[in-house]
């Protein structure tokens, strides 16, 4: 049973996607049921995965290893495995996809295609987190892009073509640069270890002792690939456009999971394989992270479109992730990973909220909104919950992440004799609170807007409400019992930090 657990989780959605695709014509209305079932199965299985995961074992579990391409020069394997880090990302993915399906239950336009894409994307995303062979990793990395391109292009807003192609090309360039880095890793490993075949297995390559110069260079290549995905300033401009145009489901998965691929890659590959490179790149990473944090927050303040604001807030929060990782300390890395998880849950709420207001009220322009708390009280409640979670209100999941990230950052600063830099991180907390509260003040408080017709606006629908409620519940749950997730990621983080520490 558990021998094939990962493969089952990985490919069930793909099967579902194919089935959903054929739910055309008069069977159209069943597409969503197919989607629901085939996203529920992976969810259940991933819960089983979490339950049967042994947290005391370091390294990958539920290994599945089969030779895929075996020639005299190439040795590529079908290799799946999860450790604590990938585990929570898998869990996050399955949860979010399931809820997204629920959220977009009433999708009217080409639902079969829509849900097929979402399920297809799920396979791609899961594959990225499960694959432990660079060849597979890259394949899934790219596969995840394509459905998103269609989601934006077919169900997006007015400028969707521009946004979609921009997203597609921009991230594709990054992936290819990353691919070059992967080539370099593989060949160098082969020539150092004297392998006659190229091997792409994580486990093979992470053991190799690369020269420090090589590490610094290749770290740059890989980091660029991941940084664009996260995204960090200044490689972020595909994100706001993509989010503004993308349909809600797309945005949720894009911000909730896809961005995490970048930070996941940094932890999983850059830090693990290229420790010396990481140390060399530490200062640049920290600077980039701080810039991203503050820059994103400031940009948020200036936004008029609610969704664009949330998009920029993602940039700021992913900067937090990078900051945690860049401290190269066990707390920092673990907190960064935890922030990935936290942000995944929170941002889902935020984008759902943006989607609902855009859909129900007809505009997301903050200046045109107002007094929604009266018209749609439940909506206002969810919005406030999401915003509070996102600005790091203690008791909710975001706080635990930010607290530990900043604590780690302070420790780093103190050790480096620049403890004052913590001020930048703290200032971002203020800015974050600032733009969220201001947005709420203008959108849900005050008199009911007369700039748009809200006479027949209805509150959150059942499906939307349920998915939002579940997310809020999870946010609170992991905020009150963070150890539930933290204890999975910490062993990974401390393992990495131990290696990084001795350099």
């Amino acid at each position: 049973m558990t021998d094939y657990l990962l493969s089952m989780i990985l490919f069930t959605p793909l099967v579902g996607a194919v089935i959903a695709l054929f739910m055309a014509g008069d069977k159209l209305k069943y597409a969503r049921w197919v989607a629901l079932v085939f996203s529920a199965i992976p969810l259940g299985l991933s819960l089983l995965l979490v339950a049967t995961f042994d947290n005391n074992i370091l390294g990958y579990q539920f290994l599945e290893q089969y030779t895929w391409i075996e020639t005299s020069l190439l040795h590529m394997q079908y290799m799946l495995g999860v450790d604590g880090l990938s585990l929570i990302m898998v869990l996050l993915t399955t949860i979010l996809v399931f809820l997204v399906v629920l959220f977009s239950w009433e999708e009217k336009e080409r639902p079969n295609f829509f849900f097929a894409l979402i399920l297809g994307m799920q396979t791609g995303l899961l594959g990225v987190f499960m694959a432990i062979d660079y060849f597979m990793f890259f394949i899934f990395w790219e596969v995840a892009l394509i459905p998103m391109y269609f989601l934006i292009n077919l169900w997006g807003g007015p400028r969707r073509h521009y946004a979609a192609i921009k997203f597609f090309i921009y991230t594709h360039v990054a992936s290819l640069v990353m691919l070059i880095g992967i080539f370099a890793l593989a060949f160098q490993a082969a020539s150092i270890e004297g392998w006659s075949q190229l091997s792409f297995a994580f486990t093979d390559i992470s053991g190799v002792a690369f020269s420090s110069g090589f590490q610094v260079l290749v770290f740059g290549l890989l980091f660029f690939g991941f940084a664009v995905k996260m995204p960090v300033v200044p490689f972020h401009t595909w994100l706001p456009d993509a989010h503004v145009e993308a349909p809600t489901a797309g945005s949720v998965l894009l911000a909730g999971v896809m961005l995490k691929m970048g930070s996941y890659g940094i932890i999983r590959i850059c830090l693990d394989v290229l420790p010396e490179g990481a140390v060399a790149w530490q200062i640049p990473m920290i600077i980039i992270a701080l810039v991203a944090i503050v820059y994103g927050a400031l940009a948020c303040i200036a936004q008029r479109d609610l969704k664009k604001m949330v998009a920029f807030s993602s940039i700021s929060h992913m900067g937090m992730v990078l900051l945690g990782i860049a401290t190269l300390s066990d707390i920092g890395i673990a907190a960064g990973a935890f922030q990935m998880f936290a942000h995944g849950l929170i941002t889902a709420v935020l984008f759902m909220v943006c989607g609902i207001v855009g859909h129900n009220v007809g505009t997301r322009q903050i200046p045109l909104l107002g007094g929604l708390a009266e018209k749609m009280p439940n909506y206002a409640a969810f919005m406030m919950f999401g915003f509070m979670a996102s600005l790091g209100l203690p008791g909710l999941v975001g706080f635990v992440a930010e607290f530990n990230i900043l604590a780690a950052f302070y420790n780093w600063g103190l050790a480096e004799g620049v403890a004052w830099v913590i001020v930048i991180g703290l200032a971002s907390l203020l800015l974050t609170a600032g733009y969220y509260l201001w947005a709420m003040q203008r959108s849900i408080f005050g008199p009911v807007t007369d700039k748009v017709d809200v006479s027949k606006v209805h509150d959150v629908s059942v499906y939307e409400g349920v998915s939002l409620a579940v997310l809020c519940g999870l946010i609170a749950l992991f905020g009150i019992f963070p150890a539930l997730a933290w204890d999975f990621v910490f062993p990974v983080a401390s393992g990495l930090a131990a290696v990084l520490g001795v350099i």
């Binding site: 921009k166 090309i169 921009y170 300033v233 200044p234 972020h236 401009t237 595909w238 820059y295 400031l298 940009a299 948020c300 303040i301 200036a302 936004q303 066990d330 707390i331 673990a334 907190a335 007094g371 708390a373 009266e374 509070m388 209100l393 203690p394 008791g395 706080f399 635990v400 607290f403 530990n404 900043l406 604590a407 302070y410 420790n411 103190l414 913590i422 001020v423 703290l426 200032a427 907390l429 203020l430 800015l431 609170a433 600032g434 509260l437 201001w438 709420m440 003040q441 849900i444 408080f445 005050g446 008199p447 009911v448 963070p482 150890a483 933290w486 204890d487 910490f490 401390s494």
Partner: protein
């Protein structure tokens, strides 16, 4: 059996109420009001039982119990637990008690709020949960978590009328903006507090009080780190207890329902800062400078806030300013007392008797203030409820129409003004004493404290003045037009809490004579040496003797009476026209006070003139520069494409020319290669 074993239930009771009301509130009478009251009552009873055990010293100095919450690193564990000492249980008791009374009062006050009642009781229940959690916390992180949640509740409740305000859209906009302001301004402090936590966590690799307060551990950390940590933590205090310069949110917070002002912005939440200061004493007293700073902040706030109360016409605002100033008193007392202890810590001399009094004074005043300020606010609420305005100029002569309210409020006024035997008298006198003790010393610090003493004295005078001014303008003299259509006294559910509170406001001062000072001394054994603190053997007689033999006590009384007399002449007897002192409101001073020393403008400037333009600039950079580059590359490619395809002009001989030209180029290249290759 020990009730302490069940102390952890105390916050859970209101939490349960919170959830219950949240989900089913609208199905229960008064939107769950009674549930809230019941929960508060239960919490109070249990707190009282626990409090008895703690105060009676059954568990030694404190009761500590905790479970690990998060192991953030090997050996660094964040716990979640209880740390109950006298200070904590005192807070628990009066927090839950006053909450109970105010919830009861709310049943009347909120009666006509329809479907909003559910929201109201949900939020206040959550608030009580957080408040209790805050005071019972066993470590700084836990404290911070609840610290923020009470902030959230404050935000929610200030913004309670953020939409569909009974007084119309302008009011709701004001409420929304006030809520935001409160959250942001306090968050500035909270951020500092957070930084303080980082400092301590880094220094002690723990945040548990038991660890941090252990002299042995403190000795291991260098003083400057501790001082830094202390100052940062005090930053949190400045925010939450609305000390200068982060005080300006509190007056605006009066946009919330009056009960909320009474509960959160007078009696309980704003006390959290004072509590935190008292709580962190073992760390604060490691540096005299920190304590001096604290004292100065307190003294300045006390005086500065009182001035703004002098000429304000809004009954709630006056009370708000007086809250600020009273909080300043408490901080001042803690600072003064702490300063002495800090000196003691520095040179290991025992701190006893009146020298150890500052701490007691501060905490004591905090408790008394809770009673009489809650009383005053509720009274004001009852008045507002009756006359439908907050402008005192439209009130007056309500003595006859609202007898209970007027009498209870008079008691509160006497108490806060520090007229002898009323509660306020004792604690305020101790505060002044505590400052004086330091001022009697020598050196610059002593001089500063002398100055602070004078400020405090002046504050005492102003307090008496504006409080009686308030009382006379509201209840005395002939009726204002609002008073005309006042429909008599509020119903009993509102007046009974007033009566109960007034009893406490009148008498709680006497506690000091019955060993309260013992209970609330800062008992802490310094590192190693024979250094001890404590009002050891400082009984009832000593207190009385101390007070009634000291000239300063009489000075304080005189000042208070003087304030009362001035107010009496101006606003009751009316033979002295207040306008004489301020050119009928034209004087610069008057305007300055009305404009709150231009602090709101200052905040707005930071927000709108500094941050927002920067944000817009960033936005422009993002669009033009960063995004522009990306689009620029794309456009240059498509443009280049257009150009290149034009070369393909369709004439075959052009193609042939390109072929032969290419060939020539190859020859050239080869020539170069050959040249380099040396062929």
């Amino acid at each position: 059996m020990n009730f302490v074993e069940f102390a952890w239930l105390i916050p859970l009771i209101p939490l349960a109420a919170f959830l219950f009301i949240g989900f089913f509130g609208d199905r229960t009478p008064e939107g769950g009001g009674y549930v809230a009251v019941g929960a508060a009552a239960l919490a109070f009873i249990l707190s009282a039982l626990v409090g008895y055990e703690i105060l009676s010293g059954t568990h030694g100095d404190y009761y500590y119990d905790s479970i690990p919450w998060l192991t953030i690193s090997n050996g660094v564990v964040l716990n979640f637990g209880l740390y109950l000492d006298n200070l904590a249980v005192l807070m628990m008791m009066f927090a839950s008690f006053i909450s109970m009374l105010i919830f009861i009062y709310s049943i009347g006050y909120m009666h006509d709020q329809g479907d909003r009642k559910k929201r109201y009781y949900t939020k206040v229940s959550l608030f009580l949960t957080a408040m209790l959690g805050l005071v019972m916390a066993s470590n700084f992180l836990q404290l911070f978590i609840f610290w923020e949640i009470v902030g959230l509740c404050s935000y929610l409740l200030i913004g309670f009328w953020g939409f569909r305000h009974p007084k119309g859209d302008k009011a709701s906009l004001a409420a929304a903006s006030a809520a935001k302001k409160a959250f942001l301004v306090t968050r500035m402090g909270d951020v500092a507090l957070l930084a303080g936590l980082f400092v301590l966590l880094n220094a002690f690799s723990s945040l548990d009080f038991v660890t941090l307060f252990d002299p042995a551990n403190i000795a291991l950390v260098d003083k400057s780190t501790l001082a830094l940590g202390s100052l940062l933590i005090f930053g949190g205090v400045i925010g939450k207890s609305a000390q200068f310069p982060l005080h300006d949110w509190l007056p605006d917070a009066m946009e919330g329902p009056t009960t909320v002002s009474a509960l959160i912005h007078a009696a309980t939440m704003v006390k959290a800062g004072v509590y935190l200061t008292a709580r962190s004493f073992p760390i604060f007293v490691q540096s005299t400078d920190v304590m001096l700073f604290i004292a100065i902040i307190g003294g300045v706030t006390a005086f500065y806030a009182a001035t703004m109360a002098l000429n304000n016409m809004n009954i709630k605002r006056v009370l708000a300013y007086s809250t600020l100033s009273q909080l300043g008193f408490m901080i001042l007392a803690l600072g003064a007392g702490g300063y002495l202890i800090a000196m003691g810590v520095a040179d290991g001399t025992p701190i006893t008797g009146s020298k150890a009094f500052g701490y007691t004074a501060g905490v004591f005043h905090m408790m008394n203030h809770a009673f009489f300020k809650a009383l005053l606010f509720l009274g004001a609420g009852s008045v507002i409820h009756a006359v439908g305005t907050e402008d005192m100029r439209q009130m007056g002569g309500l003595r006859k129409r609202m007898s209970v309210t007027s009498i209870t409020m008079l008691i509160g006024t006497l108490s806060i003004a520090g007229i002898p035997v009323f509660a306020g008298f004792w604690s305020k006198d101790f505060v002044l004493e505590a400052v004086m003790v330091v001022a009697e010393g020598s050196g610059v610090a002593a001089a500063i404290f002398l100055l602070l003493y004078i400020l405090a004295l002046a504050t005492a005078f102003m307090t008496a003045f504006y409080m009686f001014r308030l009382w006379y303008m509201t209840f005395g003299g002939e009726e204002g037009e609002a008073s005309k259509h006042c429909h008599g006294e509020s119903e009993k559910v509102m007046t009974y809490p007033l009566i109960v509170l007034s009893v406490f406001a009148a008498l709680s001062g006497f506690l000091i004579l019955f060993g309260f000072n013992q209970a609330l001394t800062f008992n802490w054994a310094g590192p190693g040496s024979d250094f001890v603190i404590g009002g050891g053997g400082y009984g009832m007689m000593d207190v009385l003797e101390k007070i009634f033999t000291s000239p300063f006590a009489y000075l304080a009384i005189v000042v208070a009476v003087a304030g009362f007399y001035a107010a009496y002449r101006m606003y009751n007897f009316k033979d002295v026209d207040p306008g004489r002192f301020n050119k009928d409101g034209e004087s610069a001073m008057y305007q300055l006070l009305q404009k709150r020393y231009f602090f709101p403008q200052f905040y707005d400037a930071i927000a709108l003139k500094l941050t927002y333009p920067v944000a817009l600039a960033v936005e422009q950079v993002d669009r033009k520069a960063v995004d522009g580059t990306v689009d620029g590359i794309a456009n240059s490619l498509t443009g280049g494409s257009q150009m290149l395809r034009r070369i393909q002009n369709g004439f075959v001989q052009t193609y042939a020319a390109y072929v032969l030209g290419g060939l020539l180029l190859l020859f050239v290249a080869i020539y170069m290669i050959g040249y380099i290759g040396g062929l």
